[in-house]
């Protein structure tokens, strides 16, 4: 019998992503298919997708995707929304009835704009304002859960295998320039709809494979800055870290990667002086945001993707290209499923960020 | 060549070196059996004057006067170590008289004894150095 290392033993989660650097639109079909060869990396307790550029008609409004346990929660939740936003459009997210996905909550979508007068009186940046309302709903309204809150993008997730979740949400009917996907093999949280991935805040979404050992250190630090880790998942805390570093601290993606998958001190010591000082500064400044333990993540954001492995590369992740498209997945098979002729397939180093952005003006 | 040196600063005057020396040269494997109820004749001595203590043993001099004074050829210097052949020693103790450090010790067994760096006994490494609790006695190249 072959041993570990000689044969791939399936475990953990599956992640997959595709992006068109030219901003060309793709339906959700391919990304759903990419999850099929990685079926064994999930256990049917969670799957999900994020699509970017999918709401061109409402691109200036925040799209709130919300799960409600029952209709009575809708009222409570809408009261909070109406206090802070103008609701431009409200609808039930269309789904397909399939036997593989059952016990669904009420799934609503709101396109909203913050009330300008309120923003001004609170002296808050618009995005910060949205974050606070999302946190408020998720912590204060029992039975309501905002799982997507960005502009011109959306997350779709459920308990089930990812390929079924994709069909359930009719993702073949959406078109986006970038997609991420996740199949879940939950280890440290019970499988429920809100706990499925991607996890999103504003336009940041994260799909993640791994179980980070730094979780509570990261959580207790980030919660100092108004974030509430209600799901207790790694993905949630990683998303907040990304939001904090990128949006609130203004770090670049590469700098963010140098914080969460910081190079070892021995590596830093051997860098040229300028680089060394910079890395040392970041590591000292944000030491509590270092993430240890295995992870491969794909961070989706407005106009791009960043893929990153933990610094020891304890999880698989490969990257490939074809024409204007870049593919990232836990396994090469997933990439081949999306594009049989994909080229330049390689496994990035631990801690080496892969950043892909759509060309300026193309999204 | 490695020799035994004493750092007066760290000598506690505990006299353990004397007992370790006597034991090492006793040929016994148990210290109690070797030393209990016996007068010991160690090859290292702690000199004391008030609060100053200092362990003294053979310096293995460059030009050892003991060797020069030996009438029977029992004392010799080989590879830097001054040794004594007790079979040749006639017990005249001239060496005891001439040694400026008092490091050659007469015994009632008709032969003088002196530090031979534990090279001839089972210890193999100076027992006084090994047993010194404060590293006051060291065995090193200088």
């Amino acid at each position: 019998m072959k041993k570990e290392g000689e044969i791939r033993i399936p475990s953990g989660c599956a992640i997959s992503a595709v992006i068109s650097k030219d901003g060309n639109k793709m339906t959700g079909e391919k990304i759903i298919e990419s999850m099929i060869p990685m079926h064994d990396r999930s256990n049917g307790l969670g799957g999900g997708f994020a699509g970017y550029g999918i709401y061109p008609d409402h691109k200036n409004e925040y799209a709130l995707h919300i799960f409600f346990n029952d209709k009575y929660r809708i009222e409570d939740c809408e009261r909070i929304i109406k206090d802070s936003f103008e609701i431009v459009k409200k609808e039930i997210i269309p789904t397909r009835k399939i036997p593989e996905i059952t016990d669904e909550p009420i799934i609503m979508r709101y396109f909203v704009s913050p009330l300008f007068s309120l923003l001004r009186s609170l002296q808050l940046d618009e995005k910060e304002f949205v974050v606070r309302i999302v946190m408020k709903i998720n912590t204060e309204v029992d039975g309501a859960y905002v799982f997507s809150s960005g502009k011109n993008m959306g997350a779709f997730k459920a308990v089930g295998f990812p390929e079924d979740v994709g069909r359930f949400y009719k993702l073949d009917e959406y078109e986006g320039y970038s997609w991420t996907a996740h199949g879940r093999y939950p280890t440290n949280t019970p499988g429920w709809w809100g706990g499925a991935h991607p996890f999103g805040l504003l336009d940041y979404t994260i799909v993640h494979n791994g179980e980070i050992s730094s979780y509570d250190a990261n959580r207790r630090f980030i919660e100092m800055f108004g974030y509430k880790c209600t799901l207790q998942t790694d993905t949630e805390v990683i998303t907040y870290i990304a939001d904090y570093l990128i949006r609130r601290q203004g770090l670049s993606l590469t700098e963010t990667a140098s914080v969460i998958a910081a190079p070892f001190w021995t590596t830093i010591e051997n860098k040229p002086e300028k680089e060394r000082e910079k890395l040392k500064y970041l590591r000292t400044m944000f030491s509590s945001l270092l993430i240890t333990g295995p992870f491969s993540i794909i961070l989706g954001f407005d106009g791009g993707l960043m893929a990153l492995n933990d610094r020891l590369k304890l999880r698989s992740m490969v990257v490939g290209e074809y024409n204007d498209k870049v593919f990232i997945a836990s396994e090469e098979a997933a990439i081949r499923k999306m594009e049989i002729n994909a080229k330049n397939i390689y496994a990035p180093q631990g801690g080496e960020p892969i950043i892909v952005k759509v060309k300026e003006g193309k999204f | 060549m490695k020799k035994i040196y004493v750092n007066e600063k760290w000598c506690l005057g505990c006299h353990l070196c004397e007992y370790n020396c006597a034991f090492a040269n006793s040929g016994e494997t148990d210290m109690v059996k070797a030393l209990k109820d016996k007068e010991i004749s160690p090859r290292i001595h702690v000199e004391e004057d008030g609060k100053i203590t200092y362990a003294v043993s053979c310096r293995h001099c460059e030009d050892p006067v003991c060797v020069k004074s030996c009438i029977s050829g029992a004392l010799s210097k080989k590879d830097g170590v001054v040794t004594i052949d007790k079979n040749k020693c006639v017990g005249c103790f001239t060496c005891v008289l001439v040694c400026p450090y008092g490091a050659v010790i007469p015994t009632d067994k008709h032969a003088a004894i002196k530090c031979e760096l534990c090279l001839k006994n089972a210890c193999g490494y100076p027992a006084c150095v090994k047993g010194c609790p404060n590293k006051a006695i060291v065995y090193e190249e200088r």
Partner: protein, 501 residues
């Protein structure tokens, strides 16, 4: 006072079959317990003088000696225990305050022993520190809340001065005076080799030790002994000592007999005069006064030295720490009620203060709740006994630990708890030159280095087991801890779940 009410606490047991009358016990006992009887050619002992420091036991070449607890006891009484009664006898005789040394020895809960550490199984891999890098480096000091960039977008280093440590352990304050020159030198040498810091305590810095400045924390305490500009400039960091775990609310008293020679010179007080540190700093009667001292020290050192404020763990420590975190201090050091001392009133040592585990958990939580945890680093001391205690402290939220008793044990201390007598047979808590020379710093520093190296290995092993390869992701990572045999309230304060949860 002709009747002696107290039977000696220890018995010196000498095995006559093994004793070779080498008299090393006699020569090494500063308490003069042993003596040689030339007539009978036997060693005799006066156990009434024995403090059970075990110097004789350790040096006896034939292991002919042991010290045992006397079994001569008073009639058993759960309320009036032997110790209690003997203390009453002592006070009835002396009319004085009872003095003790080292930490609280009473059987109060040791929370560290009721906390268990996690390890990875299946879902994420443990990491082998022999094969993979395992980082224990920490930086102590305030971390600004916002990055700054210059016009070209490069970072401006806006970090206040930081203390870099190769591992999250430092040697805590023990003054030159309360401990010997050689003990200080051992600590300084070891700190330098290890890449950590030692602490002068309130006794000034001997001129020979300025060379170890980069590995020195210079302390400013209520007596201000030995404090001058060069002293402040000499260290890597400055510590304001507000309190000490062994005697919260109490100052210090180094008897004139120990203020001799270099000790007097270093403390800048006349020979033979008692060195009395007031209970409070008489220029700090409130938190705003502390802020002034913090900034005075920063002004004096051109803002190049982090300032540590050390306090004893007392009931409202969380609120106190919150105040200190806003005082401009860079590091808060908290000393738990089991912390050691060269001398403290017994009643204070044994009854005042709270355990460091609870104090740490409460402070870390409070500072996070207030969003000011980044303002300061947290250093905890007060009986950190092993690498496991270090790991548990870090996971509870500390940045680093202070150790002193463990360091003294490495130097030979046998915890006989009679430092106040000045007759330390191990050359540590004494100024008697004959005794001081018993501690050769070459040996002492090596033993400290060995101890810390061993702990570092153990810390790495435990981190690796948890799948953590950098100490900063252990900090405050309370999920890695579980309580055992703790009640709901204790778990709530510690912020951990019970084992099995």
């Amino acid at each position: 006072m002709s009747i002696n009410y107290i039977y000696p606490e220890f018995e010196v047991v000498r095995n006559p079959n093994r004793c070779i009358c080498c008299r090393v016990c006699e020569r090494q006992c500063a308490n003069e317990v042993h003596r040689f009887d030339a007539d009978g050619k036997v060693m005799l002992s006066d156990e009434s003088k024995c403090v059970n420091c075990q110097r004789c036991v350790s040096l006896c070449p034939t292991r002919a000696l042991k010290i045992i607890k006397s079994d001569c006891v008073l009639r058993e009484n759960a309320n009036w225990q032997n110790q209690t009664i003997k203390e009453i006898y002592k006070q009835a005789e002396s009319g004085g305050v009872l003095l003790s040394s080292m930490g609280n020895p009473n059987p109060l809960p040791v929370y560290f022993d009721k906390i268990l550490i996690n390890a990875s199984q299946v879902t994420n891999p443990s990491i082998d520190p022999l094969r993979e890098p395992m980082e224990t480096k920490v930086f102590l000091g305030k971390k600004p809340n916002k990055i700054e960039r210059d016009k070209d977008g490069n970072f401006i280093n806006n970090l206040p001065p930081q203390i870099e440590l190769s591992m999250p352990v430092m040697f805590s304050a023990m003054s030159y005076g309360s401990i010997s020159y050689n003990a200080h030198k051992s600590l300084a040498l070891a700190a330098q080799k290890l890449g950590i810091l030692y602490n002068t305590g309130e006794g000034g810095l001997h001129e020979d030790f300025y060379v170890y400045g980069d590995n020195t924390i210079v302390q400013v305490a209520s007596g201000r002994f030995g404090v001058h500009e060069n002293y402040l400039q000499a260290g890597k960091a400055i510590e304001i000592k507000m309190g000490q775990g062994a005697k919260p609310g109490i100052g210090g008293h180094l008897p004139g007999t120990k203020i001799v020679g270099d000790v007097s010179k270093t403390r800048m007080i006349p020979e033979g005069s008692d060195a009395i540190s007031p209970a409070p700093h008489h220029d700090i009667y409130s938190i705003e006064d502390l802020r002034q001292l913090v900034y005075s020290l920063k002004e004096a050192t051109a803002y190049k030295k982090p300032v540590i404020v050390k306090v004893a763990a007392v009931h409202n420590i969380a609120a106190i720490a919150s105040g200190i975190a806003r005082s401009g201090a860079d590091v808060i050091a908290i000393d738990g009620f089991r912390g050691g001392t060269g001398a403290a009133p017994t009643r204070v040592r044994d009854n005042v203060g709270i355990p460091i585990e609870l104090a740490l958990a409460a402070v870390d939580k409070r500072l996070r709740d207030e969003g000011i945890r980044n303002n300061v680093s947290l250093v905890v001391g007060g009986s950190i006994r092993s690498a496991a205690d270090v790991v548990k402290s870090i996971a509870l939220g500390a940045d680093a630990c202070y150790i002193a008793t463990a360091a003294l044990l490495a130097l030979g201390c046998h915890l006989c708890r009679t430092c106040q007598t000045g007759k330390c047979n191990w050359g540590i808590a004494t100024q008697n030159p004959e005794l001081v020379k018993r501690l050769n710093p070459e040996i002492g520093s090596q033993r400290l280095i060995n101890l810390m190296t061993a702990w570092k290995h153990e810390i790495k092993e435990m981190m690796g087991g948890m799948g953590i390869n950098s100490i900063e992701t252990l900090r405050g990572n309370r999920l890695m801890l579980r309580g055992i045999g703790l009640n709901e309230k204790e778990l709530e304060i510690l912020g951990i779940s019970h084992a099995g949860q």
